[in-house]
Symmetry: C2
Subunit: 321 residues, 2 copies
């Protein structure tokens, strides 16, 4: 299916399909963060989603969209990050095989997590070309269905369910702020917003070190040639082609945020909400705080995309002193 | 009031008094932690309480127990930790003055937090004698009511409301595990348990580096002469006399936990629940994991006492890599 033809009924079908598998995550409020922002903030807590990120929604919708015959042959993707784990767990909810192609040199802890969810790992050389070659090989050999992390229509529809729940629990909103990397969550949110609240403005929080979405929307041509440099490890991917089309149509506005602001916002979130969110989540709050005048006095929804902080990077003896 | 004469109606009165001021915190579950523990764990999330710890319950009950004439003269305590902040915030809910005596050398960030809640700080020399002298001076000068962090009957009754809520939302339980320091939460929990579920066993998780409660209950005499050495900064206080009597009467059992086990449990909680709890909270899970056979297959309630992790001790550039 062409993602640019997705409509509200596709999102509702996704919501029905993932119900009972995905969590309806809570919407969190913080009086002290409201005071700091000068706005009323509602945080959609996707770090409390299964596998620790919104990614489970799209993966789950893709897995449960398959016919029984397709499903029996399994699914495949290439991702050493949250999507790989999410697809593995989604496949497990249906009891089908999941193949994940991972490049040599990927973080061992992440691979262990993907394997723990029951996926079969396939190693390949680093680089997107090697990954795609290996993915095609696995597809040919097994007949598994490819589930791309963010350009797949089923994935985009699934990601859009987070915003549907947010509006349902906490709306109405003047503005919604979501992180943008490959654009799965961002374009799914754009579709949700068009359906349930067209007057709500959509803002995309993007790291300065991977700001190709800002450049793409500015030049009306998708920028693909860049080298990401940001602590937001979930936002290093390149904006997908259908995601670009959907975000352009939605007139989404990008707010570019530097890593220092994201780190400060993450610290604030940890301190004030006691929620362990990852940098790719905190960038939404950073975007609001860096553009205070744009949100003053407004009702603002923010999607906290995930909580997969690399705990191995924390010095435990120091952290507990 | 003598805390050893506290009864169920006192706890119910405390619950009514703090309603509308304190949060009814959620009870959290984690399938993966259940699998690790081999038991069904229900976590009372007091790190999501106002001011970040259960301490607000007792402080709030004390403040709202005062007559209008008493209240007008304010409250005073000596604590540079969670109780100081909790009492300051509780006093603010009633719009009355709060004096906090703090020793020279206390952590600046904690003092700033207490001041941010509107308390008046009074500096004194380090050591319990200097603190008590300064406290008495402030009392004499202002007529403020002393609210001790854990021996005050109003405080103990307030702390007991956390267990009442836990039983209400998640019971019945075979066992309850709470941290023990001065014993305010522990003895309040003992009173709650005696009233609503006498068959539930009460376990106290205590750091090996401050295990005077274990020694006291073993020898039937309160041990006060020890030098605490533990990362559990909330559990360094000396077990209070009325707390000792209440815990002895309740036949509470102490589980002594070393800091390495607490740190590992804290890491597990951060990773699996995305909740930023402090070491004094994580010690309850550590106690269960270190005594697996005692809890196998049981319904276990654990109180996560607070989330005031010293974020300044985290190296932010590393943590976000």
């Amino acid at each position: 299916m062409d993602p640019t033809t997705l409509t509200y009924p596709d999102l509702l079908a996704a919501a029905a399909r993932i119900a009972g598998h995905a969590h309806v995550t809570p919407v969190l409020r913080s009086a002290s963060l409201d005071a700091i922002a000068g706005a009323t903030l509602s945080f959609k807590a996707e770090h409390l989603q299964r596998a620790g990120a919104f990614k489970f929604r799209g993966a789950c919708n893709a897995v449960w969209s398959l016919s029984d015959a397709q499903a029996a042959r399994g699914v495949v993707t290439h991702s050493s990050g949250n999507h790989g784990g999410a697809l593995a767990l989604a496949a497990r909810t249906r009891g089908i095989p999941c193949h994940v192609v991972v490049p040599e040199g990927a973080v061992q802890a992440k691979l262990a997590a993907i394997e723990a969810y029951g996926a079969i790992l396939h190693r390949c050389a680093p680089g997107i070309a090697a990954r795609e070659t290996e993915c095609t090989r696995v597809q040919t050999e097994t007949g598994a269905e490819l589930v791309h992390p963010y350009t797949d229509a089923r994935v985009i529809a699934g990601q859009g369910t987070a915003a549907l729940e947010l509006f349902n629990a906490g709306g109405p909103f003047d503005a919604l702020v979501v992180p943008v990397g490959g654009g799965g969550l961002a374009s799914g949110t754009a579709l949700a917003l068009a359906a349930v609240s067209p007057r709500t403005r959509l803002f995309l929080a993007e790291p300065a070190g991977a700001a190709e979405t800002a450049a793409s929307l500015r030049s009306s041509e998708r920028v693909v040639d860049f080298v990401p440099d940001t602590i937001c490890d979930g936002l290093r991917g390149t904006l997908g082609a259908p995601n670009f089309s959907l975000l352009r149509a939605a007139q989404a506005e990008v707010l570019v945020v530097d890593d220092a602001a994201t780190t400060a916002a993450m610290r604030l979130l940890w301190q004030r909400t006691k929620q362990l969110v990852e940098p790719s989540s905190a960038i939404t709050l950073a975007a609001v705080l860096a553009n205070r005048e744009r949100f003053a006095g407004q009702q603002v929804g923010l999607i906290l995309s995930g909580g997969n902080v690399d705990l191995d990077a924390l010095p435990w003896s120091v952290a507990t002193a």
